[in-house]
């Protein structure tokens, strides 16, 4: 079960990125998986470089998060590109992000090749915990805590801060916000970059416990979609609950009926879309 939560944690981060961007900009960013993959590879490189430079091992998490955040600057570049088509049909925006998926795949291949990258047992530097009859690496718990922390942070940010309110207002009613004097360009740039950061940090955090492997983003997109659909497009809470649902479902399926693992997720996606198209927490738009 806890394994499912670990997976859910990273899935949440990527889905949250998707949600934020969709909620505010109405763009379905297919490249969120690519950001995840980029974050993983870049995170690996940053850690390897930092360790060579003498960084003490326990600073692993810090290096990863910083690496992820640093990489998120490409979000600014991508957003500039997307700016060309803000006024177009949603489908076109989705297509542009599909183009990005293709481009990023080869960008990753160009810089890192197709071999997998791993950090070995580095993540055990935080030790292990005995809970019940199970042993859990503390790193996994830290990642879960980090994801939860980010979730809380985002919630607080959106609800309490002025900037957060602007973001939410823009999500509700773009025209009105603009009329009230909000600088759309800055909001969009900021939102997209934060969305990117969520993806890249998610990818970076995953690497020590697993690996950076080729095409890891392409497979994740489908799961991220499932999360977003189940939770409801545009809702942060939805991303949280959806990620948990998918993660736990996978864990349960693996333990009981491995055959239906992926199928079960799609069936639930379709069921949700049919019965409650807005998802559990989304706003109803048909």
């Amino acid at each position: 079960m806890l394994g499912g939560v670990f997976h859910a944690a990273t899935l949440f981060l990527v889905a949250a990125g998707l949600q934020l961007v969709f909620g505010v900009q109405r763009i379905v960013n297919l490249a969120c998986g690519s950001f995840y993959a980029l974050g993983a590879y870049f995170g690996f490189s940053v850690v390897t470089w930092a360790l060579k430079g003498g960084m003490p091992q326990p600073l692993l998490l810090v290096a990863l998060i910083l690496g992820g955040l640093l990489l998120a600057t490409i979000g600014l570049v991508v957003e500039r590109l997307l700016r060309f088509i803000y006024d177009r049909d949603e489908s076109f925006q989705m297509l542009l992000t599909f183009a990005l998926v293709l481009i990023f795949e080869d960008v990753i291949r160009f810089f890192w090749g197709t071999a997998p990258y791993q950090l070995g047992n580095l993540y055990l530097v935080y030790g292990r915990l005995q809970v019940g009859g199970l042993t859990i690496p503390v790193y996994n718990l830290l990642v879960i805590a980090a994801a939860a922390g980010i979730a809380v942070l985002m919630g607080w940010f959106l609800a309490r801060t002025r900037w957060g309110r602007i973001v939410r207002a823009t999500a509700e009613n773009r025209a009105m916000s603009e009329a009230l004097g909000v600088d759309m360009r800055r909001v969009y740039a900021g939102v997209f970059t934060i969305g990117t950061a969520l993806g890249t940090v998610g990818g970076a955090l995953v690497v020590p416990a697993t690996a950076a492997i080729h095409e890891m983003g392409i497979d994740l997109i489908v799961e991220a979609f499932a999360v977003v659909v189940i939770g409801g497009l545009g809702s942060m809470r939805g991303a949280f609950v959806g990620a948990l649902a998918v993660g736990v479902l996978k864990a349960v399926a693996i333990a009981t009926y491995p055959e239906i693992e992926m199928l079960a997720i799609y069936v639930i996606v379709i069921a949700v879309l049919v019965l409650r198209p807005a998802g559990l927490f989304g706003r109803a738009t048909a």
Partner: protein, 315 residues
Amino acid sequence: MIRRAALVVVLLGIAGVPFMGGDYYTTLMLPFFGYSIALLGLNLLFGYTGLLSFGHALFVALGAYTAAYMTSVFGILHFEAILLVSVAVALVVAVPVGLLCVRYVKIYFGMLTLAFGMLFYSFLYKFYHLTGGDEGIRVLRPMLLGQSFPALGKVEFLTGPYYYYSLALLVAAAVVMWRVVGSPFGLCLRSIRENPEKAEYVGVSARRYRFYAFLISSIFGGVGGTLLAIPTGLADPLLAYWTHSGNLVFMMLLGGFANFFGPILGSFVFIFLQDQVISLTQYWRLVFGAILAVIVIFFPHGLMGVFDPRARAGG
């Protein structure tokens, strides 16, 4: 008049490829035929009805697996029978899927179709006793119009009788689609795309018409898939993967969705461009991604939009 003449010239050119183009490029035209038919269907949904499906590969895969089952498992080699069953199978699947999907538009439609496509992919992969799993199912050489051409090797068969059969199918499919979009039904679709509320007001049920469009597009997808499967000789789950649907959309956009012939042009350019680029560089995905980005940003009406900016599909 010029349009008609241009069409005839193009058709003659295509008919002449087996004599001039060399065996390989002739065989490369075969997926062009298959994809063109599938794209005619996809564009009915997008260009005319305004629905972007990211799961069209589902029907393409269905068509391929139908061909596989009919030939390898049931031993039925008559291509006409296979095509008919393909149509039937596509319809059977499209009815429930379509009923569910057409309730939604835009992004939800796209995501729902993507989900169905991936559901089918998972099914193909997991239920390996039925579908062969990752190994797929063989597609045997069919009989065309009752003839099996025993004297011809597979390559001669593909570049000869099968080539012209596929071309004829494409022409037939295009004629059918032309009639469909030119009919009152087609007009209704366009009105729904432009302004659904108004259409409803005038008594045109948006949902019903979208559903019909979905059914028709699924048939074209299935037939296209069947055509694709023969040259490959194998139906495998990757045909249903979401990136395959993405490629279909890419082709449609490349050619131009606002023009009837756009998708066909897109299919042609994509296939041949991909062939050349793959041999040139291992970073062909980057090249294609860049091309798609350029199209989406600067040339949303695709190549047809560049060649013929006045020609819109009936407005």
